[in-house]
Amino acid sequence: QKEVEQDPGPLSVPEGAIVSLNCTYSNSAFQYFMWYRQYSRKGPELLMYTYSSGNKEDGRFTAQVDKSSKYISLFIRDSQPSDSATYLCATVRAGAGSYQLTFGKGTKLSVIP
């Protein structure tokens, strides 16, 4: 079992829809959770990060972490064509002298006008 599992999609939604992207992870030692957005032929850009269970909201984006079930989600409200990209979840395990970041494979999202 991979440490971070993410459905690769592709996911296609109409403009204005609410999008739900999800990942599961297996290692309870993971401490931080992040979502990155990657446009075609570009490097990933950080969207949101959190270190605790619960919700974190930033504009149209909400990141949700449930540590008890090892489940992380990203919700996009009022989706726009410009949201079309690949979304990568990532988890971080940090300790003395070590820092390990593990990415999911990414979900490709298309928002259709």
Binding site: Q6, R41, E45, V92, A94, Y99, Q100, T102, F103, K105
Partner: protein, 114 residues
């Protein structure tokens, strides 16, 4: 300010040749990471430099891969005797703090081994 830059943006090389990929992190960032992204795969961690400490090389796939970071700034990833399976996008990221969770990525170097 300037973001993370990488060069070259594209590299085509013949199997068996050595290649060097360069990363210029954001000025002042203490941590630097290298990842590999293959088609249909997620980002694969390769190596991590933190400040002046010894790098974490646990992700390097073979001894053909090596990296160095000179003066705590620019980093070079070297792949010796390239193989076709090395074809991928190589991404560099930097972080403002050691162990920081916010990583800023460069645009990547697309390596094609023929």
């Amino acid at each position: 300010g300037a973001g993370v830059s990488q060069s070259p943006s594209n590299k085509v090389t013949e199997k068996g040749k050595d290649v060097e990929l360069r990363c210029d992190p954001i000025s002042g960032h203490t941590a630097l990471y290298w990842y590999r992204q293959s088609l249909g795969q997620g980002l694969e961690f390769l190596i991590y430099f933190q400040g002046n400490s010894a790098p974490d090389k646990s992700g390097l796939p073979s001894d053909r891969f090596s990296a160095e970071r000179t003066g705590g700034s620019v980093s070079t990833l070297t792949i010796q005797r390239t193989q076709q399976e090395d074809s991928a996008v190589y991404l560099c990221a930097s972080s403002p703090t050691v162990g920081g969770s916010e990583q800023y990525f460069g645009p990547g170097t697309r390596l094609t081994v023929t």
